[in-house]
Each structure stands twice: as C-alpha cells, then as structure tokens.
C-alpha cells in the first residue's frame, strides 16, 4: 500500500485511494461538492484544490489524485485557503442566495464552506444569471436550477446507479443548467437519493418540502425494515415526531443509497392500521388485562397443543425471546417459522437494493432455525394445524391466519405485532408491539449482516418492544427469557446461538457485523446442548 503525505502527516492507504478519502482517514477534511465516494470522479467543482508538495504538479484537485508513493500534498497553505475562497466566490456568483426558503439550508455545503472559507465581503455588482426555478421533475423531487452548482452528482447518479439518465446539464458557460427533457419525469425508486447527494438545494425532496428546518432535527442511526436489504438509515426526528429518513453510508449493505419506499416507513408509525392498544377478542383494552388473558389461555392449554410462530418481521431479540419462552416457560411448545410472508402491497423488486423478500429479518430467524433443528417451517405448521394438534398459537408479527385461512378455525391465537392484518382480526389476544424506529433491537439482512436499530421516538400508544412484551409474558408464566433490556437480550442471544457468537451492541457499532458462518459439526453439537439445557 502506498504511503502519501498530507500536511506533513504520513498515511498509508490502498493504491487508487484518492486524496479526499486519504485525508479523511487522518481527520483532515478536504471540502468538495462534486466528489462522491460511490460515483465516478468528475473533478469539476474545483473546491478540493490542494497544493502538491512532491510527486506531481500543483495545484491539483484531491479527488482526482490517486495515492502513489512519494505523493505529498498540503491543504493548509494560504494559497489553498485562497483557492477555496475564490471557488466559493465563483459558486455564489450566480447563486440566488434564497436560503430562507431553501430546504437544504442547514445542511448545505455552500453554507458550510462559506462559513469556513467564504469571502464574506461581496464583490458582485453584476446581475445574476436567472434559470428555471421550482420544476416538478419527479414524484418526490423539486428542482431549482438556479441553486445548482453544476457538480453533476445527480447526472452521474442517473447514469451510474439507476442507469436512467434523466437529469442532464444543458447549455454551457454560466448558463449551464441542470434539467430534464420535457415530458420525461424521473420515476425510478431511488429519487430521494438525488435530493440527498445534491450538495446544495437544487434538488430537494417534495415529501420533506417546508416540513422542518433541518437544524431542529435529531438524527438517530437505524436501519430500514421495509425489505430484507436492511439499508442503513438515519431517522431524523424532533420532539417525538419523525420527519424524514435518510440513508447512511454502509459499503457492505447499501453504499449511500436507499429506495423511496424505505424513506416512507416512518409513515407506518401513525398509519391507520397501527396497533396502539391491546385487544381481547376484538375489544380494545389495556395491556395488563390482555396479558392476563394471554397467560390464562397459555396456562389453560393442554400440554403439547401450544405452538409459537417466530416472525421474520420481528427483531432478533424478539424472536430469541419467543424461542426461549417456548423452551422455558411453555414446556413442550412447538416452534415454527414461516418464510416469505406478508409481502404487503409494495411488490417492486430490482437488483440494486429492493429485495423480493419484504421481511427484514428472514436471515435472523433462519440463523435460529439452523441452530435449533426442532423449529418447524410453514409446512409443518400448516400440517400441525390441519391435524388439530395445535389448539393455541403464540404468533410474533406474522400473518399466520391470513395464510392458513379457515384451517385454523378453533385455534386460539395470541398475536404480537405492530399493524393490523388478517390474524389480528381473528386473534383472541393482541398485544401492540413497537415499530422499528421506536425500539432498540437488531435485524439480520439478506446478506447476513446483523445491524442495530435504535429508538428514535417513544413507542406510540400502549405499544412496547416485542422482546419486552415477551419478557413480561414469560415472567407471568413463571420463567422470563430475561430480556430486561435489548442489550441484555442480545447478549444472551449471542451466547446461545453460535451464528451470533461474540456479537455485542458495542461491537455492532453503526455498520453491523456479518453472521458467523455456520460450522456444521459444532453447530449440531451446540444445538443439541442448547436444546437440552433448559430441560435440566
């Protein structure tokens, strides 16, 4: 790996790394507009101009300088500062400066860098070039060509990520203007990313338009649970209200992108079908009473007729808690899981991020089944129900009845979930569970990456995290799984299930960790041990 010198500090980076990334590695920020780590280098903003001390001729742009031995640059010379200042001045030459009405203000690179490197004293006496404002270019996007700094990030996104190429730069000189061909609107599923990557306020989100000034928002790192991809997101919220969701960089999962559907998952928090209160036989009531009914139902059931159904919609912690509940508190309960359920109304699929599997935790449940061979699948469940072997079912966020249909008549279903579905309507007891942005938990995505979600807002209504509900249920039944907090639940999970070995919340960090690859020999051994242990 070549070693380069930045401001006199030596740093070793892989060959081909550009100087912006190399500098970021040692905490030196090189300002830039057009450079984006997941797009090709355009080098047209000229903001990242640096002085080259050795190994080249300067000044040159850091984004197009690839690491090679002997390269030494400086970003702290007066000339670099002057260059940044002059570039800022050029960029603002024809900028409308309509920050007061611009949604980007607060997270605008022009503002940030102006404060850092600005001219402060205006020298512009000539009229500005006017361009097209407020263009409707897509279902989620508004374009203001005047604010554009012609960095071409959006153009490259359209070319290189979605391949649709609707946005282009038109004209030349200072009349260069971003735009779309008349009659052609942007209608792919990744429009929101265009608003994200736009370093200024040229492309803004229609959904977030004028909703909130960004500096009021608090960001909470989380992941998207709209499909099995599990894109890393930031939940932006203020005073217990979510205003938008933005993607977070995770090269192992989603790079810097996410789909438009995922951006809207926060709307589920307050959607019509959201379960906010417990129900007993369809009657809305308080959670304690419903919990009591659930306990009585479970205790009154004949041994061997109780089954639990793990949920691929629910977190690792919740599934683990349910699994332990079945093993410890409900002796002899059989455990099932169903694959590929509940696709919802949204059935778009592509090979970029949107997965056909709309369940965020399929791999997490599968990891559990790999560990405990006794867990039956959907076919086993259907068989058991049809045979009449199961009289009571404890279901975790899985539309079992919707799938089983009439076959399950006569089975008492205890349901834990977030939204209304076919099972909720027929269930004996329904306990409301917290949405992903309302709880701490982990999910395992389609590639086996275990990632955390963090609580951004309080659980709505009476809802509580599913692992917490299951822990209380277990306590009432005589043996709690011991999930007093999500971290403790995950710690026990990682101790018991080898696929999660050695993982902790701290170790998962912001980017998550991949599941430990299954080792056939050890796995069965461990599984059988685990299987017998509770019985002792």
């Amino acid at each position: 790996m070549p070693t380069v010198k930045i401001n006199g500090i030596e740093v070793e980076v892989p060959a081909g790394t550009n100087m912006i990334e190399a500098a970021a590695k040692i905490g030196i920020e090189i300002p830039h507009y057009c450079y984006h780590p997941h797009l090709t280098v355009a080098g047209n903003c000229r903001m990242c101009l640096c002085d080259v001390e050795a190994g080249g001729r300067g000044p040159d742009i850091a984004c197009n300088m690839q690491a090679r031995d002997g390269l030494a640059i400086r970003t702290d010379t007066p000339r670099v500062k002057q260059m940044r200042k002059s570039v800022m001045e050029f960029l603002l030459k024809n900028h409308p400066l309509d920050c007061p009405i611009c949604d980007q203000s607060g997270e605008c690179r022009l503002q940030d860098y102006y404060m850092d490197y600005g001219q402060y004293e205006s020298r512009l006496a000539d009229p500005k070039v006017t361009k097209h404002k407020r263009q409707d270019i897509g279902d989620h996007l508004v374009l203001d060509a005047e604010r554009c700094v012609a960095c071409s990030r959006c153009v490259r996104f359209g070319d290189q990520i979605t391949g649709t190429g609707e946005l282009r730069l038109f004209n030349r000189t200072d009349h260069t203007e971003i735009g779309i061909f008349p009659g052609v609107r942007i209608d792919h599923d990744y429009q929101g990313n265009l608003a994200d990557i736009c370093p200024v306020g040229a492309i803004t989100s229609k959904d977030f338009r004028f909703q909130k000034r960004v500096w009021y928002l608090t960001d909470t790192d989380s992941i998207c649970t709209a499909c099995a991809t599990g894109c890393d997101i930031k939940v932006c919220h203020e005073r217990n209200q979510v205003f938008r969701i933005k993607p977070r960089r995770n090269d192992a999962v989603n790079q810097s992108w996410m789909c438009d559907h995922g951006r809207m998952i926060w709307q589920d928090l307050t959607s019509l079908g959201r379960l906010l209160q417990a129900r007993v036989e369809g009657q809305v009531g308080n959670t304690d009473a419903a919990m009591q009914t659930a306990v009585e139902t479970l205790q009154g059931a004949e041994p061997g007729t109780v089954g639990v159904v793990l949920g691929t919609q629910a977190s690792n912690e919740a599934n683990w808690a349910l699994w332990r509940l079945a093993k410890d508190a409900l002796k002899g309960a059989s455990v099932f899981w169903c694959q590929g359920n509940d696709p919802g109304a949204w059935d778009r699929v592509d090979d970029l991020l949107i997965d056909a599997d709309k369940n965020p935790n399929t791999e997490g449940v599968r990891a559990l089944t790999r560990h405990d061979a006794s867990i039956g699948d959907g076919a086993d469940l259907a068989h058991a129900v049809r045979e009449g072997n199961l009289k009571t079912l404890l279901v975790l966020q899985d539309d079992v009845l919707g799938r089983l249909g009439d076959a399950a008549d006569g089975v008492a279903v205890l349901y834990i979930g977030t939204h209304r579905n076919g099972t909720v309507d027929k269930a004996a007891v329904v306990l409301p569970a917290a949405h992903t942005v309302e709880q701490d938990a982990t999910y395992t995505n389609r590639r086996g990456q275990v990632q955390r979600v963090r609580r951004a807002v309080h659980p709505a209504g009476d809802s509580r995290p599913a692992w917490q509900l299951l822990d209380r249920l277990g306590a009432s039944l005589g043996k709690a799984p011991g999930a007093s907090t999500a971290a403790i639940a995950f710690k026990k999970l990682s101790a018991q299930v080898p696929a999660f070995a050695d993982m902790t919340y701290r170790a998962l960090g912001t980017q998550g960790l991949p599941l430990v690859a299954p080792q056939p020999e050890a796995q069965t051994d461990q599984a059988s041990q685990e299987h017998h242990e509770p019985a002792k």
Binding site: T164, G165, E166, L167, R168, L169, F170, N171, R172, T173, D174, H175, G179, I180, F181, P182, G183, V184
Partner: protein
C-alpha cells in the same frame, strides 16, 4: 453575450427518418466504435433535414442512438451551431470577434441591420434572413466576414453585402465557395 435559447415546446410533431437517411445513419455508425459517437453527425443530418432541432427531433435522434432524450438535448444545447429554434431560410452569421472587429465588423452588422430592417437574433418578415452575431469563424485574415448557412463571405464591404443579399433574395446566389479564399492564399506565396 452568450445566449442559449430554450426550444419552443411546439416542434415538428411526429418525425421519422426516411430509408435513405437510415442507410446513411447505418453507414455513419460504422465509422465509430460506439453508436453514440454518431450523435453529432446525426444531429447535423437532422438539422439539415428538419431545419432546426425541436424536442420531437431530439427524441427521434435519442431513439436512433439509444440514449436518453435528455442526453441528446444536453449535447444539442452545448453546440451553438445546432439550432434550437427555427430561423429564416438564410442564416446570416456575422463574426464579431477581435480581428473582424478591428476590420470593422460593427459597421457590417449595422449595414445588414439597416438593409434588412431587423436587429440581431431576428428574422425578416418574409422569413428569408435571420441575422446573428457569432464568435470567431477562423477567417481572420479575410476579415470582416460572415457566414450564410455553410458558405463564408469574406472581405465584406457594404457593396459586396448588398450584392450577396440581393442575389440570395432573388434566388441567384453567388457561386460557392467564395473565390476570395484562393485569392488570399497567394499572399503567402508572393512574399
């Protein structure tokens, strides 16, 4: 100053290539390793065929070279010789860059304006002439000069302008190309 007009939304309506055009396009594409490289020649073809590049024409070109229409529009707006708006039958482009300016391009423009009764960027009411100022046309040695469609007219004087424009208006254009080029070539040989 630079002026980059936005094409009017009402263009040519549905347009398509003739079979001969398609053959020519196919031949053009063999010149280049990629299909899109033929974009510029095809745009030229389209401009000759339809006079100017409307959104309809650009959409057709986009399908021809398998590009998003915005890409074609983007390229078309980059080049000033590709017309985004309809012009008169003859497009008069007078060079007004340095050498021509030193040789009196302003008077030439003024003379044409007076003669045609239009100002820059305008078309005569009979749709014959459109007058435009353009930047350097690489004929500095024979300045002042103008270009009418593809032909250069050099060493202009008010009289020669009158002759040229009158000839065009009466359908008797001067022979193309202009002989001045040859004449001025010998300058270097005489020395």
């Amino acid at each position: 100053m630079a002026h980059f007009p936005t094409p009017p939304l009402d263009g040519h309506g549905p347009v398509d290539w003739s079979p001969e055009d398609q053959a020519e396009i196919a031949e053009l594409m063999t010149h280049y390793p990629t299909k899109r490289s033929a974009l510029l020649p095809i745009l030229w073809m389209a401009q000759r065929k339809w006079g100017w590049l409307s959104f309809d024409v650009m959409r057709l070109v986009a399908t021809t070279v398998d590009l998003p229409p915005s890409e074609v529009y983007s390229v078309a707006t980059f080049y000033t010789m590709l017309k985004k708006q309809p012009t008169g039958k003859y497009l008069i482009q007078v060079c007004h860059t340095l050498s021509c300016k030193l040789a009196g391009a302003e008077q030439i423009v003024d003379h044409i304006k007076k003669k045609l009764g239009i100002s820059e960027g305008e078309t005569t009411p009979d749709g014959m002439f459109t007058l435009m100022r353009v930047e350097c046309l690489a004929s500095c040695g024979s300045a002042p000069m103008m270009q009418i469609d593809d032909d250069f007219h050099e060493q202009l004087t008010p009289d020669s302008i009158d002759a040229i424009l009158d000839g065009l208006a009466q359908g008797q254009p001067l022979p193309s190309p202009r002989p001045e080029v040859d004449q001025w070539t010998f300058r270097s040989l005489e020395s």
